[in-house]
Amino acid sequence: MWGRAGGPEQAQRLTAPARMIQRQPMSVFPFSAIVGQQEMKQALLIAATDARIGGVMIFGDRGTGKSTAARALAATLPPITAVEGCRYNCAPEDRGSCPDCCSSKRVRKVPVPFVDLPLGSTEDRVLGTLDLEKALSAGEKHFEPGLLAKAHRGFLYIDEINLLEDHVVDLLLDVAASGENLVERDGLSVRHKARFVLIGSGNPEEGELRPQLLDRFGLSVEVRTPDTIAERVEIMRRCDAQERGPKKFAAKWKADDAKVLRQIDRAKKALPKVKVPAKILKSAAELSQAVGADGLRGELTLMRGARALAALEGAPSVTVDHLKSIAPLALRHRLRRDVLDETGSTVRIEMALAEMFG
């Protein structure tokens, strides 16, 4: 429609949200070339292995590579197959399940979606809304999909999630947990699949997320500033190398990225077979109790995370070591904040771990 109304570059018919994200960054930094930040990389790999983990929250300063890492992982993953022309990225086996009732027999390969949700996003843009043009010209009610549809089968990244309107965060977490977007508005009643890995980031110094919302994230990561000078210099060197020859740089890291990819692939296949011994389950429950993590989500995530980690490492069953390394990620954001206690959450978990496993 805008082809008729506007300039030459608008020939493509795109929805408002689509326009915002249609352009991928010119060249994505290879995932394996990211210096340091082991914890963040591990959390992202786990989320990519088992989507049921339910989102990763990244705490940390600006300019520490949060969005670079998330973007890089999305770009590393192999393209997905989707029904041609489907605005909901329907997989071929789900053909016709979306509100568009996509019917094309042809499929296309598309890169794993990566949607960068801007701070000012309104419900309209996130959920989708009435297609105004169709309504005006044909008097028909049609649904104009929003960013959630766009993110289906991919990643939804929200920078400064702590500053986003609470009700939008609520809504996102709800959809992320159910894997389905249900719209009841503007006289529309639509549902469509919206399965994505939710990645939030923010700096607690600038305002914090409500504890209820934090709890709904599966894993949380504390990103640290690269503290050694050598690390910083290495970052400078790699960024420069990438800037000078993005292709050459990508080629150089291709083998490593492929390794990551194979690792995720193998882990996904192995996941159902990984055993979780009863002893580990008991330890997970005890640990959650010891640190005072409210609710059941903590121990469930602990178990799922440890299993995904074991799968990634190619281990046949979950061990105490897996549990120990996943515990800070799975629990630190669920601890009840005691305002008078200065001890950080991570330290409290480490203390509990030391007490339990010595």
Partner: protein, 565 residues
């Protein structure tokens, strides 16, 4: 830093930015005035022929940024016609953000996204005066150059085109990179972006000077313009940690860089040199902020989110709801159209034989939507705590506890808390208005006690903060925790009588300014001084001889509620 150099630096930075805006993300031009206007007037002709340049007004909302319906077109044709937003129009070019210190968070986020994608670069016109009036950190972070014109008096500078054809110098040597990284670490810069930008600038400027590689002067210039304005701490002249030789993890791509790393040894003097340059060139308003304890990563707070009140007249757009326009309520055209849209076909049929046939749109009264705005009604509780020797140390611990408890509740209520302490000879802001638990805890753990009671100084500081927050649209409340026994004057002299008189005056001033206040008497045996103070403040008086933090919070809350009721 001498004035000449500062304007020369700014000019160079502006030229570097104009040559390749997208490589540098943005430039901050702080300080409104003829100097900035002149620079801008010289910069724009260098940009405009090559790329789109758009202006983002302070009032811009998400729709203006992202585009929306073109109403005239839409109404004329009965079809939705799109009008491109500012983000789209700035694609491949530059967006000039006026009054950047007032930019709304949502708008800043959209711009930041666009910068990250390499779509546009920004020129931030920062009219801020105080240390805490600055563009949002999201934008500052992405703009390489921070130029300050507030001290510049000279208009004697000329734009040179030498940048246009200059070739960038070779990448920095390893030792130079180490020096840059060390300097950044010494200045307390956590982000990696500035270091990358500094390198980029040093190479660019070396190219302009016809050099094959950047040397000390270039690195110094990069530090002055890119790193120093981002300082969050005064650098210690001894670098904290020696550089460690090998890179930490995985396969270093030696193939690419082997060539340049030649024989460059650990060049320690260079680091010292750069650090000295950095220390000398931190702008005054940043130093001011560091000293005031605004230790957050630099940046203003812009439009904070908080409690909001919806209104149909002013504030930020919130959406639309059914209603009849008029009496200050504005019609929300697009939402009206949206409401009318589904019925067009039916209405057209029904209207088939009447004389309105041929009309392209049928809108009924029930379709009308009015705009709905939100107004920020955030509260700020300013704790002014008497940390003198006369308030026993134990009371101080309770006061700390009360502040933290209030803050924990602010989580839910999304209101803010600030902390001022007065002792010895003056008052200091320990915690600027914040909602962050992390920062509050840090500030509180450093709250020392002892010395005299400069009550008047504490009151004045609280008043200043209350005034400032009132201007930002917040509702401030001052909670004064003291025994009311002032014994240090405003000039720091120990004179009880004068100190009491000054305190009374300051208290009356607060009352006259209309700020709400509550006095909590924290002396073990309450006497009339604190009560008299409460009277002068026209505030409530609460004697809490043995109450703990929780009781204190309850008391303050009850006053706050009665105030707002």
């Amino acid at each position: 830093m001498s004035e000449d150099r500062s304007i020369a630096d700014s000019l160079l930075a502006a030229q570097a930015f104009a040559q390749s805006p997208h490589a540098f993300g943005g430039i901050v031009l702080r300080g409104a005035g003829p100097v900035r206007d002149r620079l801008l007037a010289q910069m724009l002709p260098a940009l405009e022929p090559r790329m789109p340049v758009v202006r983002v007004p302070v009032s811009a909302d998400a729709e203006q940024m992202l585009g929306g319906l073109d109403l005239t077109q839409t109404l004329a044709t009965g079809r939705a016609a799109h009008r491109p937003g500012l983000i789209e129009r700035a694609r491949g070019g530059v967006a000039i953000v006026s009054m950047a210190e007032r930019t709304d968070r949502g708008i800043a986020a959209l711009l930041a996204q666009s910068i990250d994608r390499g779509d546009c670069a920004v020129i931030l016109l920062d009219d801020g005066l105080d240390a805490d009036e600055a563009p949002l950190a999201t934008l500052l972070e992405r703009a390489a150059f921070h130029c300050d014109f507030s001290r510049c008096r000279t208009l004697d500078f000329e734009w040179a085109e030498e940048w246009q054809n200059a070739k960038r110098a070779r990448p920095l040597l390893k030792g130079q990179r180490e020096a840059l990284a060390l300097t950044a670490a010494a200045l307390g810069i956590h982000s990696v972006r500035p270091v990358l930008m500094a390198e980029s600038y040093a190479r660019g400027i070396a190219g302009v000077r016809g050099l094959g590689k950047a040397g000390e002067p270039e690195l110094e210039a990069a530090i002055r313009l890119v790193l120093a304005p981002r300082a969050t701490q005064r650098p210690e002249m001894e670098p904290p940690e020696p550089p460690e030789p090998p890179p930490p993890d995985g396969a270093p791509d030696t193939a690419i860089d082997q060539g340049e790393e030649e024989q460059q040894s650990q060049d320690l003097p260079l680091e010292d040199l750069l650090l000295a340059a950095a220390a000398a060139s931190i702008p005054d308003h940043i130093l001011d902020g560091i000293d005031k304890g605004l230790t957050r990563p630099k940046g203003g707070s812009g439009g904070q989110s908080g409690n909001r009140e919806s209104s149909s007249r002013r504030g930020r757009p919130l959406g639309a709801r059914p209603g009849i326009p008029g009496d200050g309520r504005k019609l929300a055209l697009i939402d009206t159209l949206r409401a009318a849209a589904p019925w067009q076909a039916i209405r057209r049929e029904n209207a088939g034989d009447s004389n309105t046939a041929g009309q392209s749109l049928y809108i009924r009264k029930s379709d009308l939507r009015i705009r709905h705005f939100e107004q920020r009604q955030e509260s700020l509780t300013i704790f002014a705590v008497d940390a003198s020797g006369s308030s026993a140390m134990a009371r101080l611990a309770e006061a700390k506890g009360a502040v933290e408890l209030m803050l924990a509740q602010a989580h839910v209520k999304r209101s803010q808390v600030a902390l001022i302490a007065f002792r010895h000879s003056g008052a200091e802001i320990l915690l600027p208005p914040t909602r962050s638990l992390t920062r509050a805890r840090r500030a509180l753990s450093g709250l020392p006690g002892g010395g005299g009671t400069p009550l008047a100084a504490g009151l004045l500081e609280a008043r200043l903060m209350a005034d400032a927050s009132g201007k930002r649209g917040q509702t401030p409340m001052i909670a004064l925790l003291t025994d009311g026994k002032a014994n240090v004057t405003l000039d720091g002299e120990p004179d009880r009588a004068r100190a009491m008189a000054e305190a009374e005056n300051a208290a009356k001033g607060i009352a006259a300014a209309g700020h709400h206040a509550v006095v909590i008497d924290i002396s073990p045996r309450p006497r009339e001084e604190a009560a008299a103070l409460a009277e002068a403040l026209r505030g409530k008086y609460l004697a809490l001889p043995y109450a703990g933090s929780a009781a204190m919070v309850e008391a303050i809350e009850s006053v706050a509620e009665s105030v707002s009721a």
